[in-house]
């Protein structure tokens, strides 16, 4: 009896915390959001595939769009993913200052990414790429380009704001362990945006 009771006590807490993620409900929530978001991006890219394969005059993306700048942007996002994991690593070691610095670098990488995208869009619009037509062929080429890269750009913009607000959270909580979960969750979002860009870069620019 006494053995059963002593066994039940620690288990009762465990069971209430759910077998899903004993560590954090927030993390579970973010993963579910990202799963939904992934389906959203998947649908956009699948629709792009259908439009492209049923079109007889789809322009060659890497000739029209140019991939030098986008390759730099891809590299930039990979770098910002590294600064993101570094931020979490430093927080785990208890250094809030270094964590905030790396979070800031991550946000900066995202901001530069969006700026380069704005530059790229401006450049392409000047060359005649519009949502309703372009000089190279299928009008849907421009439509899908702006929708997909725009949707991703909005995610990056949102991510930069999210990161900056998390810097605020880390600043306000004196105990590093108290904000570990928050930083880990923003990290999930940020890496996901990087992951989606890998897909967008391949399907919209390289193929």
């Amino acid at each position: 009896m006494s053995q059963a009771a002593s066994h039940a006590a620690p288990h009762a807490v465990e069971a209430a915390e759910s077998p899903l993620t004993p560590e954090s409900w927030g993390k579970l929530g973010m993963w579910i959001f990202l799963a939904g978001d992934a389906v959203g991006f998947g649908t956009l890219l699948a629709a792009y595939g259908v439009m492209r394969s049923t079109s007889a005059d789809w322009p060659n993306p890497y000739e029209v769009l140019g991939i030098n700048l986008t390759a730099v942007m891809t590299f930039l996002l990979i770098c910002s993913s590294v600064t993101m994991v570094k931020a979490l690593e430093w927080l785990g070691k208890g250094d809030r200052g270094k964590c905030r610095m790396f979070l800031f670098f991550t946000a900066l990488g995202g901001a530069i990414f969006v700026s380069l995208q704005a530059y790229e869009w401006t450049h392409l619009i000047h060359r005649g790429l519009h949502v309703d037509g372009n000089p190279w062929g299928a009008a849907l080429f421009g439509t899908s380009f702006f929708i997909v890269t725009g949707f991703h750009g909005l995610h990056v913009t949102g991510g930069v704001i999210y990161l900056l607000s998390v810097i605020g959270v880390v600043s306000r909580r004196p105990d590093p362990a108290a904000s570990y979960n928050v930083v880990e969750i923003v990290g999930l979002y940020w890496h996901f945006v990087d992951l989606v860009w890998i897909m967008v870069f391949t399907f919209m620019y390289l193929l």
Binding site: G42, V50, A56, G187, L195, T202, L206, L207
Partner: protein
């Protein structure tokens, strides 16, 4: 909590992703034709995405249930591809708006 994660070597993963990106840029200009290049590029993209999810997003070190949640969109995406496959590849005629696009500026 922090101690539970085995931290992978992030710099090694960074270099792996950087090298794979360079490989992608080289593959674009390989003379193997659209089919082979496309397959290679898709494989590279999926590989890179998997590396990001597994190591940066720590999916490798998470519980199985969380892995299941992450796998669901992949399953849905695969289904989606099969659903739209007829639309993509078995259409009798291909749409082309070369002519309307060329005429459009003249009308305005």
């Amino acid at each position: 909590m922090a101690g539970e994660h085995k931290h992978p070597n992030y710099m090694a993963i960074f270099w792996l992703l950087a090298v794979l990106t360079v490989v992608e840029l080289i593959v674009v200009f390989l003379p193997f034709g659209k089919m082979v290049n496309g397959t290679l590029l898709c494989a590279l993209a999926v590989g890179k995405a998997a590396v990001v999810a597994m190591y940066f997003m720590h999916l490798r070190f998470e519980t199985r249930t969380l892995g299941l949640i992450a796998i669901v969109p992949l399953a849905i995406a695969t289904l989606l591809v099969f659903v739209i496959l007829p639309d993509a590849f078995f259409v009798d005629h291909k749409t082309a708006n070369v002519k309307p696009a060329a005429e459009a500026p003249a009308k305005h």
